[in-house]
Symmetry: C2
């Protein structure tokens, strides 16, 4: 551990070449400034090359895409993991003057860790002072929203979600065309306004996870009427990984599009690992506090107590965790419902709480103390992610009594959280065959009054260990289409081992695809713009543009170069798949050109008794065909 | 070329270590004998380890799975690629005595190739004599079916599709449990009988692609009331690959589950490449004859003629191609409909025919000569795969006028093929957003009277070059659920280059997942058995069984071993993902055990005013919990 930690603190690693600080190809970070100078919303601009026409080159406007990578891909920003990121939200939080800085951390445990000299080598040096709501204040975005206040966070999100789409669509009508979607009752506006953001948060249909102690985070929103988001799980286990590896997974996950990350560490030095992650994360960070609580009692679930769990919540809230997975829906009487299951209880948190309930013959302390938990959450603006501790772990257990009984309880708890103006999303399965997925979405919307749904996959079959990013990517795309707000990724290592950095990227990629496929199917305004731009580039053999508009330019280019490495191939009107003579796109362009040139002689077609067709052909064909 | 070819003919390569001739882990090839001794249906038996219980070990019956790998995974079979596979269907074909062997090949082109000494080095040595129907005979399985004849091929298929499921389910009730499916009007029987196979083929709802000149093939069926099948495309291009590589892709593709392969070669020596592939393929082989025809006229579409196309059909039919993709649905008046498209015509065959039509101002010769094509097909039992030459190549072009106009034409052509008792399936898209996929399936069923649908993906977004096995795996699973009979794989190299051996495996894996997810959702009888067996193994920490029941045992094991390589870890009750203390499955088992032991003291719960819960708990919990 120490060796890694020291290495971690070394100059080279600290400026972190591994942190993926280079911009993606042909991309620049741009900022759209809002109503105040310190409200600068980051986006990625992708520059495109010209289209070659008879009249000479025609410029293609740049494409702007939602950017989760934070300052890491901004050459202007100086990245030093030892210093952490700049606290962009600090002024907004301070000027609300409903919070104050504490002279020391409230958590007993935190103070003990701070005093421990053995941790000096791995401790994050530039720790911040914790902030908390003033006596009696409620500092959640939901509370502001319900009082009609539009916060800078809400305006930031509105600008971010629009991603300059109106502008791009005005510039290029071709790119603007899109299929009407099927959104199953979502209410997605043409343009996201700050007021719309406020209203959605006020009614609980969306959440903005941003703890006042995580001012480094760039505001983002999770709700069915916004872009579908994805989460990447990282974190160590007792068996493997180090702080350095976890930070590197974080920067890697957001580079490829992770909207939030969860630190699911269950191994060594959970507290210190989390500090390093939060201080360096521009995206919201979620955790499952019961994991650390269990670690504190050496893994003996029976020894868990409300008091130490409470201290753990405060410990993590003052570090800046943005959302907590709390398995308060697992109740004593639910446990027997899992007895007949093929795979019992597969949620770690769920199984821990089930064990505690049985051992004490008592209702879960998470359930009995739920209102006190709300009191803590509202003082830091930590959002609930109500855990589905009884989610099915196999196709056989899908949509069973235990799963839906817990969902009912999560519905009750949502209403309690909302009474406290505490933001709340609901976690979902799991392993579900395709035809049973929609019932999950429909029941969740009904039980939880449209509180955002956040599902793990679902995996649509159990038979492909090593490929569960695909078995689950199928289910994720479908449930995203049906209305799921955030998709928790599954990596190829699921069920087999702790994901490494490559697995993290593979999982993120599969889920970016699922989320975007869902946005397209829902008919999210402008969602098709990137598809249109990429397909136009593809048809025009603008290879570089095709690579750069894709989710993973480097991989696309590498695959192309495997067979045609030369630069000349980047302008060739074919690739190695079909070769020059068989490129349909090339022939298709020749067809257009040919038809254009032959326009007059088309009349000849008349002689062949195909008057109607030829006329059609001449009219439509003639004028429509353009040489590219 | 020659160097590779010579290498290819060398002893080591001929017995082909690369041909994947080892059985998969814990697997053996078993044969179920039908009503005659020479009707032996291959299956893969997966041996499982025992479940450990208090009463000692309990044996788990082996699991049988559908096996596409042919003799390659049978240690009893001697594999020599130079000799080709044994002609298992030869006696069935001969005893029908409606065919006869020709002294020489009918195709001009074939004879020219045979005479060419420059091809000696690459020619397949053990060529067969071609077979053709006797004068006036129709030798299609559809023709037999409509005359009430149940062929050995049909019986073979019935046994193969059932894959010993009834037997397995009788042995183990737990494994037999399955969710009722949603099949959107399919008519899947509990057990597939030879009579059911006959009836489905007779009404055109399923096809059995097996040319009388490909007696090496193991009969299989494609239809919505059978297991969903997948196809893997291989074949060289002018830019890359050799015969040896292509044969190696074939053996690799079927090892991992390819039900058919298509040889889409467009490069050098197409005729010889195809001969090597067919002689060594236990699965049906499909082609797109227009590719070779175009190659014969040096890529000048305008120079294509019916006569040389006809000779190409006969050339390939006498080699043993089992199904032909024929783009007869692309008609002159359709071409203008593609003018406004973002990506024009992306089907190679479609663009070739469109170019021909425009160049000649004539209707496509494939359309005008369709009846003559049927006459050829019926003499060899080659099945139609009516090509969708106007399928959309981008999300923007999905479900447009051109696509559906062609589908109408394919419906007409289906009826013509059926008048000739020629088997027929219909090709489908392409690039389609999720919410527009079902319309494709519904229209195809309506236009083509339930003739089997065979789609490429569909890809649900355009923005992920390098990951199109995933963008399309999502759409493939969904359309398979809706009723698509065969899914044509897409590899990660799609749009970028010619797939290599690794890409072939990746594509096959994504599509095996999609096909199985579809079978589960349709409620195909017994489809859930493998999921149940694998999940049970997972819950019981039978790691080896979990690996071996998966689609790719080697990868699953490798991922597990990355972090826990020791053999001891193969019996450990945790993995590196969560570590020992946080394994939910372990805790869940402890919960069951705990509850069982505490059964009596559960009564204590009563004192805590939870009578109802505790009672429930005692009743259900007590007896239901079993120590694993």
């Amino acid at each position: 551990m120490n060796s890694t930690t020291n290495a971690f603190l070394s100059e080279t690693n600290a400026v972190n070449k591994e942190a993926a600080i280079d911009p993606l190809p042909a991309s620049s970070k741009v900022y759209v400034t809002g109503s105040r100078v310190d409200l600068r919303v980051p986006m990625r601009e992708i520059r495109l090359s010209d289209t070659q026409t008879d009249e000479g080159p025609r410029a293609n406007p740049p494409v702007y895409v939602y950017d989760t990578s934070g300052p890491y891909t901004d050459p202007e920003a100086s990245i030093d993991l030892r210093a952490g990121l700049a606290p962009l939200r600090a002024p907004w939080i301070e000027e609300r003057s409903d919070t104050h800085e504490l002279s020391q951390f409230s958590s007993e445990y935190t103070r003990r860790r701070q005093r421990d000299p053995r941790l000096d080598s791995m401790r994050f040096a530039h720790g911040r002072k914790p902030r908390v709501a003033r006596e009696g204040a409620n500092v959640t975005q939901m509370h502001y929203a319900r009082r009609g206040i539009i916060t800078p966070e809400m305006e930031f999100i509105a600008i971010r979600e629009n991603a300059k789409r109106a502008e791009m669509m005005a510039q290029d009508a071709e790119l603007a065309s899109q299929h009407p979607g099927q959104s199953f009752g979502a209410s997605i506006p043409e343009e996201i306004t700050p007021e719309f953001v406020r209203d959605e948060v006020a009614r609980g249909r969306a959440i903005i996870p941003n703890n006042i102690n995580h001012p480094e985070s760039e505001p983002m929103i999770i709700g069915r009427n916004f872009l579908v988001k994805i989460n990447g799980n990282i974190g160590n286990s007792a068996v493997t990984s180090s702080i350095e590896e976890e930070v590197s997974k974080l920067t890697w996950a957001i580079r490829w599009g992770g909207d939030t990350i969860m630190d699911l560490s269950t191994g060594k030095d959970i507290h210190e690992t989390r500090e390093w992650l939060i201080r360096n994360s521009p995206v919201p960070v979620g955790t499952v506090p019961i994991y650390q609580a269990l670690e504190k009692v050496d893994g003996t679930a029976e020894d868990l107590t409300w008091e130490m769990f409470r201290d753990t919540l405060i410990e993590q809230a003052e570090q800046g965790v943005d959302y907590f997975t709390i398995h308060a829906g697992v109740r004593l009487h639910h446990v027997p419902m899992t007895a007949k299951r093929t795979t019992g209880i597969v949620s770690r948190g769920g199984s821990i709480m089930a064990k505690w309930c049985l051992a004490h013959h008592e209702e879960s302390f998470l359930y009995t103390h739920f209102e006190e938990i709300c009191e803590i959450m509202k003082r830091y603006d930590v959002a609930f992610s109500l855990g589905d501790g009884l989610r099915p772990g196999s196709i056989a257990d899908a949509n069973d009594e235990a799963q839906f009984a817990e969902l009912e309880t999560l519905g009750e708890l949502t209403k309690i959280a909302w009474r406290h103006d505490v933001q709340c999303m609901i976690e979902g399965p799991g392993h579900i065959p395709m035809h049973l997925i929609k019932e999950n979405m429909d029941r969740q919307l009904a039980c939880c009054d449209e509180a955002p749904f956040y599902t793990l996959g679902p995996l649509t079959t159990d038979i492909a260990p090593g490929y569960d990013h695909i078995t689950s990517g199928i289910g994720a795309a479908m449930i995203g289409w049906y209305g799921c707000a955030m998709l928790c990724y599954v990596t190829p290592k699921e069920h087999l081992g702790l994901p490494n950095r490559d697995d993290v990227k593979t999982g993120i990629m599969a889920y970016k695809i699922a989320a975007h496929a869902a946005d397209l199917a829902k008919g999210h305004p402008g969602a098709q713009l990137r598809d249109n731009a990429l397909s136009k580039a593809r048809f025009e053999f603008r290879w570089e543009d095709q690579f750069n508009l894709g989710l993973d330019p480097e991989t696309a280019r590498a695959y192309h170069d495997e067979t045609l490495p030369k630069d000349s191939a980047k302008v060739a009107h074919f690739c190695s798949m079909c070769g020059p003579k068989f490129c349909s796109m090339k022939i298709s362009q020749e067809v257009r050109e040919y038809a254009r040139e032959q326009r007059v002689s088309e009349a000849g077609a008349l002689d062949q008794g195909m008057a109607e067709k030829a006329a059609e052909f001449r009219e439509q064909g003639g004028d429509l065909y353009h040489k590219v």
